[in-house]
Amino acid sequence: MTADDLFGLASGAVLPGWLILMLAPRGRWAWLDLVPSLILPLGLSALYTGLVLAHFSASGGGFGSIAQVRMLFASDYGLLAGWVHYLAFDLMIGAMMAAQMDKMGLPRLSQAPLLALIFLFGPLGAFLIWVAQGSLRAVGKGGAA
């Protein structure tokens, strides 16, 4: 498979995970909850592991400077590994944050835009949820945390 094929496959694979987080009932079927929180991130992590072991050293890059990081992402496979890293971790964080928002008593309607933010701009969504949670706890309205 080409890097483009793998890119399409990985990007498509996370969509059911996000749909489950946004729309499916939680806590009713354990296996369904595991799709976004474990099964898909596990599969993507496996893909990442293969890509990074096979292509990291050839890139000649490193983590020490912007120039080195740019070299990591110079090849399609390096870029693909980075992208799969995003996909896997964003979904995993999305599942964790959804569980946190359940505890805050936030209905699914209000969770959906935040989950979409994590999907698109990972840390931005996480930042919002953490600050919201912290400010609610500060005034004693943190819910069953």
């Binding site: 805050m104 209905p107 309607l109 209000s110 919002l128 609610l136």
Partner: protein, 257 residues
């Protein structure tokens, strides 16, 4: 049935989180829109939402269980939540692109979004009135009956005044009456024009009747004359709001600086 008040506190929390987003954004932003840094508008809306949702959440917390667990209230809160996210996300997205949200009718998409924001704004305002009405009727609410009266009157007054002032705002091409010269004086923090008519001060007072009147009621609760104070205060507040509104419509600034 779920406690209908519960999502209101998280909405206040997310409004505070959006304020924090604006502050971290401020550290990296240099673009101006109509003389103001682009992060300021989303920040002001987030602050306004934080005050709105904290006030509503407090009020619903004080209601009796039978008043809290109604279908009307549950739907009202759901609609408020949807309106909040649509407004907040669109305003932030537009600001991040350095372009307008309100009054942006550049193309079909922006026209439709401006219209949707209008529906959202009306929903927020009417939802406040619905919660005020529920409070007014809830004889079992866990507050002094004078305060309950003040909350009901304040929320409903806020709805009425906001529909008038914001209605006028939306029927115009912008919030100014007149054209402020580039770099003209503005009122600190608020950013309202101190050179030409600006409808935002009246809109601000209209929105915050929902805090002002309940605070007045809280201060006078238990007095024999409490209701007179609340009704009189509401009348005075209405007069002040309408005076600022008329002043702006005549093209005069709230204060000239």
């Amino acid at each position: 049935m779920r406690n209908t008040a519960k999502p209101l506190w998280p909405l206040a929390g997310f409004s505070v989180a959006m304020m924090a987003t604006g502050l971290v954004w401020a550290g990296f932003e240099t673009r101006l829109f109509q003389d103001a840094l682009v992060w300021i508008k989303p920040f002001k809306f987030a602050l306004s939402f934080a005050v709105l949702f904290a006030t509503l959440a407090w009020a619903v917390d004080k209601m009796s269980a039978s008043a809290q667990f109604t279908r009307t209230l549950r739907w009202t809160v759901a609609i408020l939540a949807a309106a909040f996210w649509v407004e907040m996300i669109y305003i932030t997205l537009q600001a991040a692109q350095g372009i307008g949200s309100h009054y942006n009718t550049a193309d079909l998409y922006h026209n439709v979004m401006y219209a949707i924001m209008g529906v959202g704004a009306v929903s927020l305002v009417v939802g406040t009135g619905v919660i005020g009405w529920a409070m007014l009727r809830d004889t079992g609410a866990r507050v002094h009956e004078d305060l309950r009266f003040g909350v009901g009157v304040g929320f409903i007054l806020s709805t009425a005044l906001t529909l008038v002032t914001a209605g006028a705002l939306s029927s115009m091409a912008g919030h100014f009456v007149g054209t402020p010269p580039v770099g003209a004086a503005t009122i600190p923090f608020f950013g309202w024009s101190a050179a030409v008519g600006d409808l935002r001060p009246a809109h601000f007072l209209a929105l915050h009747a929902m805090q002002a009147i309940p605070l007045l009621a809280w201060a006078v609760q238990g007095r024999v004359s409490a209701r007179v104070w609340i009704v009189g205060g509401s009348a005075g507040y209405t007069a002040l709001t309408l005076a600022l509104f008329a002043q702006a419509l005549m093209g005069l600034p709230m204060v000239r600086l």
